[in-house]
C-alpha cells in the first residue's frame, strides 16, 4: 500500500515537474492519416506557420512557443483519446481543430473539463457552438447557413426546380443536406429524392435512381466529403449523365478533381466556409510563405487554421500581460479568446456569446475546367451572422 502511495506521489511530482514554467504549447487536432488527411494537413500546417511566425514575439515575452500536432484520424474515439492526453499536458493552453464536427463535438467536451480553449477553423455543424460551452469557438460558418446559401444560389441563380439530394449519413453530410432541403423547399423547389449512402465504390444503384427519377432532376446535391463525391461524379459522367452537381465544403479539396477526373468535375458547384486564397487579398503573402516552407499550396482550411492560431496567440498575449508577465491559466486564455477582436486574413474575427464568429463568410465556388484547384471560380461571397441558438 505504502509503495503504491509513494508511486502516486512520485508520478504526481513528475507531472508537475513536466509542466515547464516558460513553455507554452498550442495543439492541433485534425486527421493527418487516412482518407481525409489532405484537408487535415492544411489545418496542421496553417496553425504551424502562425506559431512559427509568433515565436520571436513570445521569446521576447519570456516564453518558448511550441506547436504539438495530434492526429485524430477523423475518428471520434481517437479524437477523445487525444483530447485526454492534451488536457494532461499542462503546457497546452489552446487547441486549433478539428476538421470533422463528429470528432469536435465529443472532444470539446473533454477540453471543457479543464476549460481549455478550442478555436475551430472548419467545424460547421450547428451543435458545435449551440451547446454554449465557454471554451468552444469557431471562426468559420455553420451548416444551417451554408446549406441555405447553397439552396438559394441553386434556386435563384442556377434556376433549378428539381433536386436529387444525397448524403453520407454523417453528422456533417446529413445535417448539411437537410438544411439545404429545408430552404430549397421553402423557396418553392422540389426534392425529388433524399437518399443516404455509405458506399465508397459502387454508386450505380443511386445513378440508376437518378436516371429513373421523375420529374427529371436538374441538379444533384451531395452532402458529403470529396472522397465519396469524386468517384460518384466519375461514375455518373461515365454513364452519360450531365446533371449538374452541388455540395458543401466537404468538396473543397483538389483531391476531388483527381478522383473524379478534371473533365468530370468541371462545373461542379460547392459552397464553402473557408474561401480560397484568391478570396482574401491579405492571405497572398502568407500563402507564398506557406508554399516556400511546405512545398504545398495553401488551401482554404490552411488559411482558417492560420487565423484560428492567431486568435489563440492574441488571447495568450493579452492574458500574459494581464497576468503580469507570468504564464496564464487555461481559464484566463479561454476568457481572453471571447474578447478578441482581430483583423485576420479572413476578415474581422469577433465572437458572439456562443462562440460563433459574429459575421462569418460563405462562398459559392465553381470547379474550373483545367483541373487546377487554385483556378476555381469564386462566384459569390456572402457574409452572414450566425443564427441564435435553437
Amino acid at each position: 500500500m505504502r509503495k503504491i502511495g509513494l508511486l502516486v506521489a512520485g508520478v504526481a511530482a513528475l507531472g508537475m515537474a513536466l509542466g515547464q514554467a516558460n513553455v507554452i504549447k498550442i495543439a492541433t487536432q485534425s486527421p493527418l492519416s487516412g482518407p481525409q488527411a489532405a484537408l487535415g494537413e492544411q489545418i496542421k500546417l496553417g496553425a504551424e506557420l502562425a506559431v512559427e511566425e509568433a515565436k520571436a514575439k513570445f521569446k521576447a515575452l519570456g516564453f518558448d512557443l511550441v506547436l504539438v500536432p495530434y492526429d485524430d484520424q477523423a475518428n471520434p474515439d481517437v479524437g477523445v483519446a487525444n483530447a485526454n492526453r492534451i488536457i494532461n499536458d499542462p503546457d497546452i493552453l489552446g487547441v486549433v481543430g478539428h476538421l470533422n464536427s463528429g470528432v469536435a463535438i465529443p472532444s470539446s467536451e473533454v477540453y471543457a473539463r479543464v476549460n481549455l480553449v478550442m478555436v475551430s477553423p472548419a467545424n460547421t455543424n450547428p451543435r458545435v457552438t449551440d451547446r454554449r460551452l465557454p471554451n468552444v469557438n469557431r471562426i468559420c460558418g455553420r451548416d444551417d447557413v451554408q446549406g441555405p446559401v447553397g439552396a438559394e444560389y441553386a434556386f435563384n441563380n442556377i434556376k433549378v426546380k428539381n433536386v436529387f439530394i444525397i448524403h453520407d449519413k454523417t453528422a456533417y453530410g446529413q445535417g448539411l443536406a437537410e438544411e439545404f432541403r429545408k430552404r430549397f423547399e421553402a423557396l418553392g423547389g422540389k426534392a425529388v429524392a433524399f437518399v443516404g449512402t455509405e458506399e465508397t465504390s459502387n454508386f450505380i444503384p443511386i445513378i440508376n435512381q437518378i436516371r429513373g427519377a421523375r420529374p427529371v432532376p436538374e441538379l444533384i446535391y451531395f452532402g458529403g466529403i470529396y472522397s465519396q463525391v469524386g468517384p460518384f461524379l466519375k461514375q455518373l459522367r461515365e454513364r452519360g449523365l450531365r446533371t449538374r452537381l452541388m455540395g458543401g465544403d466537404g468538396l473543397d479539396s483538389s483531391e476531388l478533381v483527381r478522383l473524379a477526373g478534371a473533365q468530370n468535375a468541371a462545373g461542379t458547384f460547392y459552397t464553402t466556409v473557408a474561401g480560397p486564397v484568391s478570396a482574401f487579398p491579405k492571405a497572398r503573402a502568407v500563402a507564398q510563405r506557406f508554399k516556400q516552407k511546405y512545398g504545398k499550396d495553401m488551401e482554404g482550411f490552411g488559411i482558417y487554421a492560420y487565423d484560428s492560431a492567431q486568435v489563440i496567440l492574441t488571447a495568450l498575449e493579452s492574458a500574459i500581460k494581464a497576468n503580469g508577465g507570468k504564464k496564464p491559466t487555461r481559464e484566463q486564455v479561454s476568457q481572453e479568446v471571447r474578447k478578441v477582436k482581430l483583423e485576420g486574413l479572413t476578415g474581422t474575427i469577433e465572437f458572439d456569446d456562443k462562440g460563433d464568429n459574429k459575421k462569418a463568410k460563405y462562398f459559392v465556388m465553381q470547379v474550373a475546367s483545367g483541373g487546377n484547384w487554385a483556378d476555381n471560380k469564386l462566384i459569390r461571397i456572402i457574409e452572414m451572422a450566425a443564427p441564435g441558438a435553437r
Binding site: 459502387n202 443511386i206 440508376n208 429513373g212 483527381r258
Partner: protein, 322 residues
Amino acid sequence: MLEQILALLPQVIFDGFILGFVYAMVALGYTMVYGVLELINFAHSEIFMIGAVVGVEVFRYLAPHMGNGFLLLFLALVLGGVVAGITAILVERFAYRPLRKRGTTNRLVPLITAIGVSFILQDLVRLIEGLWHNEFFLRMRTVEDLEGSVELFGGAIFAQTKSFILMGVSILMLLGLTYLVNRTKLGVAIRAVAQDLSTASLMGIDPDRIISRTFLIGGSLGGVAGVLFALQYTTITPYVGFLPGLKAFTAAVLGGIGNIPGAMLGGLVLGQLENFFGTYLPILTNGNFGTEYKDVVAFLILILILLLRPQGLLGQVVKEKV
C-alpha cells in the same frame, strides 16, 4: 411507380450481373479453400484488394507507354492474378500451414489467424502506398480504348465496354476453373484432398502441394476480380476488399460452401439482390427507406433462403464419412 420500376428494370438486371460476377469470382476463392481445409479464409478479401491495387499500379505506370488499352488490361489482369496468387500462397505457407502442422484442432484458431492476416495485409498495403505515392485513394487511370459505351434495346440498357470485358473475363475464368477441377489431374487431386485429406495422402498425393495450388488458383481468381473491380468502379483504398469479401463469402455460403457452381450462382443472386434493392428501395417504400438499407434487405432475404435450405442452393447435405 410500376412504370418507373419497369423502365429501369433492364438496366438494373444488367448492372446486377456485373456486380454478381465480381462476387462470383471472389466467392470461388472462399469456397475452394473451405472445400479443402474447412477454413474460412477471411484474408481472401485482402487478396482481392491486392489484385485491385496491382491493377491500378499497372495502369498508372504502363498506360502512358502503351497504345493498346486491351493489351494493357490483359497485362494488368495477368499481373494482378499472379501477385494475388503468390500472396495467397505466402499467406497459406506462413499463417495457416504452421497451425496445421501443429495439429491445432480448434477450428477458431485458424479463423482468428485469417482475420489477423487480413488486418496485416490492409495496413501493409496502406503503408506501401503511403510511402510510395502518399495517396490513400488510388484512382484507376482512364484509358481511351476501354471507355466506350453502347445503348442497347433502344436506350433501355446503358452498357460500357468495360462491363462487357468484366463479364467476358469472369465467364471465361469460371469455365476454365470448372474444367480444371473436373477434367484435369490437379482437379482430381484437389477433389481428393477435399474429400479426405489423410486418405488422399496415403494415395500418393502431397496434400501441402495441393493446398498450396488451391490457394494459388483461388487467389489468382480473386486478384483478377480485383483488377476488374478497379476498372469498373475506379477508386480503390486498402480497405476496399472488406465488404465485397464479406458478400462473396455470403455468396459462397448461399450457394452451398465447398460447391463451385454454387459459389457462382450465389454470387450472381447476391449481386442481383443488392443492386435491385439499392435501386428500388426508395421507390418501393416511397422514400422511407433509402439506398443505405440495401444490404440489410439483401441479407434478410439471404437469411430467409438459408432457413429454408440450410445447406445452400446447390449444396448437398454432408453425409457422415465412414
